[in-house]
């Protein structure tokens, strides 16, 4: 079997399997999986910047929250329909990523990490500060009536699952297409050796900026979809934890692999879910996994798989 055929089979197979699960999963796991697919879409967006371009952002919650609040506030205060609000959310993610990119990409390495962290923190604090609009920590519920898109009631669990599946499939296929296209290849080149990439004639600043915008768009879409599907927007989704979580998911699943974000999100979600019987301090698990990954498996699950068996894995 050729490499391309294997890649199509594997990724298409995952998408098909997730659709099939819709019909067989028990209620509890069905609900979980819908949530996992939305969060995994966020991780797919994060992976573009971190996994493929090699930029360690600590501020992606800003883009996720931009999508969530772009969508939520448009419904709540501007009285928009869910379709238009969704578009506003996605655009907000792209716009903020573009603006942040222009500033943060002037720095590299540790400074880039701190700058993204600080801007995201400022965004989080701004959501708290404008509490009259955002209702701060408490957040606000998006009414069921505002969650009917094209006649489909997205508060219904079945519809919600299918919508999450559609979002995730789109994100996964976009990311698969992207990293095999010349644009994605040049991002990988930047990750591997930026100085060399410049001398081959690539405008690496523009490429990194474009990667930020693509990543912000996908993250914003995930945030907007989260608000739409689960009917809630709250400041905790803008907090630093929501910048760390996609890093954790992608590291666990395998940075710079197309499937890694999903695998990492799935594992982490159930790890926390299973441990919730023992402790409510679920971020402890996140901390432990983060340390263990940096120490022992910086490649993550799919990265190890690629290294040992499947060299062709994109």
């Amino acid at each position: 079997m050729s490499g391309a055929a294997r890649i199509t089979l594997l990724h298409g197979g995952l998408i098909a399997a997730l659709l099939a699960l819709h019909f067989v999963l028990p209620v509890y796991h069905h609900g979980n999986m819908a949530r996992i697919m939305v969060l995994a879409s966020y991780a797919v967006g994060y992976n573009i910047v971190f996994g493929y371009t090699g930029l360690l952002s600590l501020g992606h919650a800003l883009f996720f929250a931009a999508g969530m609040y772009g969508m939520g506030l448009a419904v709540q205060h501007l009285g928009m329909g869910p379709g238009a609000a969704l578009a506003i959310g996605v655009a907000a993610g792209a716009l903020i990523a573009g603006a942040l990119g222009l500033l943060a990409l002037r720095t590299t390495g540790v400074a880039f990490m701190i700058v993204t962290l600080m801007f995201a923190q400022a965004g989080y604090l701004a959501i708290l500060y404008f509490g009259d609009w955002t209702r701060g920590d408490e957040g606000f519920v998006i009414a069921r009536a505002s969650r009917v898109l094209w006649g489909i009631d997205l508060s219904d669990p079945g519809n919600r699952y299918l919508a999450a599946w559609a979002l995730f499939s789109a994100a996964l296929l976009a990311s698969l297409w992207l990293v095999r296209a010349p644009f994605g290849r040049s991002l990988i080149a930047i990750r591997e050796n930026e100085a060399r990439t410049v001398m081959l004639g690539y405008d690496t600043f523009r490429l990194k900026w474009a990667a930020m915008v693509v990543s912000g768009t996908i993250s914003g879409a995930a945030g907007a979809a989260y608000a739409l599907l689960f009917g809630y927007a709250g400041a905790s989704f803008a907090a630093v934890e929501y910048s760390i979580l996609p890093l954790l998911w992608v590291l666990l699943g395998g940075a710079g692999t197309v499937l890694g974000p999903f695998v990492g999100t799935l594992f982490m979600f159930y790890l926390i879910d299973l441990s919730s019987g023992i402790t409510t301090a679920y971020m402890l698990i996140a901390g432990v996994v983060l340390v263990l990954l940096t120490l022992f498996a910086p490649q993550g699950l799919m990265g190890e798989l690629r290294r040992r068996f499947w060299g062709w894995l994109p």
Binding site: A195, L200, G201, Y202
Partner: protein
């Protein structure tokens, strides 16, 4: 007609002149060698020509166009290819992808695979799917050159291309450059005098940041000033 004009290029580091008012003229089609003892300013000069270092004064003109203020990536697109002194291939990517990355900014997408194949064949690399980092040192240098020639550059800058190569590999390299010289102008920064004597049409000698002389290999070899500055010293 000259392809590359360098006029009065100067770079100061902490007030010390690493390169002082260097002017060069490289005609189309020439193989020009740049030699000089360690610390003569070769790397700084080439860095300014390629756009990696900003000059404090002076001008770089490529085929009549002033490129002094252009960033490095724009110069590459204008036909200036640069191979690194220390091999800096993309070690974790396949050989073919390394060359394809070099090719893409210069040609339509459909032409890339063919150009990659041709460039690899030209330097004699046979396994396009090998990881670049797994290649021997000599083969990594060949890969660097393949990444240069796939760009079909007007000016090919080879920075210490034979450093660390075996005798046999150097002979192969000489043959390759002779072959390339028919199609492109070459600026060769080189330590190995045998290579310089065999390949260069003309040689520019740099010493203490200034041009000591420019001439044919025979003239340079005969010049007493060069001998005392460079050839005489080990």
């Amino acid at each position: 007609m000259s392809l590359l004009n360098v006029r009065g290029l100067t770079k100061l580091y902490d007030g010390v002149r690493a390169v002082a008012e260097v002017s060069l003229d490289i005609p189309q089609g020439e193989v020009r060698a740049l030699i000089g003892p360690n610390g003569a300013g070769k790397t700084t000069l080439v860095g300014m020509i390629a756009g990696r270092i900003t000059p404090d004064a002076g001008q770089v003109v490529l085929a009549g166009q002033d490129i002094t203020r252009l960033p490095a990536h724009r110069r590459t697109r204008l036909g200036m290819a640069y191979t690194f002194q220390i091999t800096s291939v993309f070690a974790r990517l396949p050989v073919a992808e390394n060359v394809a990355l070099a090719a893409r900014p210069h040609m339509p997408r459909a032409d890339v695979p063919g150009a990659v194949q041709a460039a690899l064949a030209r330097v004699g690399l046979t396994d396009p799917s090998a990881r670049a980092g797994d290649l021997s040192y000599g083969h990594q240098r060949l890969l660097e050159i393949a990444m240069g020639i796939v760009q079909a550059p007007r000016l090919l800058i080879l920075d210490e291309p034979t450093q660390g190569l075996s005798e046999g590999e150097i002979d192969g390299f000489k043959a390759l450059v002779c072959d390339l010289a028919a199609q492109t102008t070459i600026l060769l920064i080189e330590h190995n005098m045998d290579v310089v004597m065999a390949l260069a049409d003309r040689v520019t000698v740099l010493n203490a940041g200034e041009v000591l002389m420019t001439g044919t290999p025979a003239e340079v070899r005969a010049d007493p000033g060069v001998q005392s500055a460079y050839l005489g010293a080990p």
